[in-house]
């Protein structure tokens, strides 16, 4: 059983469409991060959210942390082919030193 459930695992959309991917858990987290990974490279951090209900925007990407700090979403507006990649969420539980846990990722393909 994965601590972080990401959905969908695969998504193929046309350029210009909007999309939302989700990262859900039954655990409460002190912080949650979204990464983007391209083939042959390591994950690259996009954003860190720490406060329940927090919303952060990065150009066409909007990240939201759930009020209860158990889930998060990533919304992309007007997707571009350059958005293609693997989107990973990673979180750390509350309380003392906690190692980071990753979700399995959402593989996004944006078709021109």
């Amino acid at each position: 059983t994965q601590l972080l459930e990401q959905s969908p695992q695969f998504l193929s959309i046309q350029e210009g469409e909007n999309l939302t991917v989700y990262c859900n858990s039954s655990s409460v987290f002190s912080s949650l991060q979204w990464y983007r990974q391209e083939p042959g490279e390591g994950p690259v951090l996009l954003v860190t959210v720490v406060t329940g209900g927090e919303v952060k925007k990065l150009k066409r990407l909007t990240f939201q942390f759930g009020d209860a700090r158990k889930d998060s979403s990533l919304h992309i507006t007007a997707a571009q082919t350059g958005d293609t990649g693997l989107y990973l969420c990673a979180a750390r539980k509350s309380g003392g030193y906690q190692k980071v846990t990753f979700g399995i990722g959402t593989k996004l393909q944006v078709i021109p």
């Binding site: 994965q2 972080l4 002190s30 912080s31 991060q33 042959g40 490279e41 390591g42 994950p43 690259v44 951090l45 860190t48 720490v50 990973l88 990673a90 750390r92 030193y97 906690q98 190692k99 980071v100 846990t101 990753f102 979700g103 399995i104 990722g105």
Partner: protein, 114 residues
């Protein structure tokens, strides 16, 4: 500024052999992490160094895995003897601050055990 580098990029070895993976973190980053992604599964934490000390090694699969960071600079991860289930992509990451400080990942080493 150079990013995190890992060597080799690919390694194919036979079951029972030994392999050593190397990670060079970003200069000045005291925190160094090893992760592994097995095909079809999520990236999993292996261990965390602060300088040359192991802060957390709870993710190491078993005693066939040995990580070192002599002098607090580069790190090595040795697998001896390798088993089929050790195949996967091994990532190294480094950061200035400890968790949840931003971690910079290397490109990974793809290990295949046949």
């Amino acid at each position: 500024e150079a990013g995190v580098t890992q060597f080799p990029s690919h390694s194919v070895i036979e079951k029972g052999q030994t392999v050593t993976l190397r990670c060079d973190p970003i200069s000045g980053h005291d925190n160094l992490y090893w992760y592994r992604r097995v095909m079809g599964k999520e990236i999993k934490f292996l261990l965390h160094f602060v300088k040359e000390s192991k802060q957390d090694e709870s993710g190491m699969p078993n005693n066939r895995f040995l990580a070192e960071r002599t002098g607090g600079t580069y790190s090595t991860l040795k697998v001896q003897p390798a088993e089929l289930e050790d195949s996967g992509v091994y990532f190294c990451a480094s950061s200035v601050k400890g968790p949840p400080g931003e971690q910079y990942f290397g490109p990974g080493t793809r290990l295949t055990v046949t």
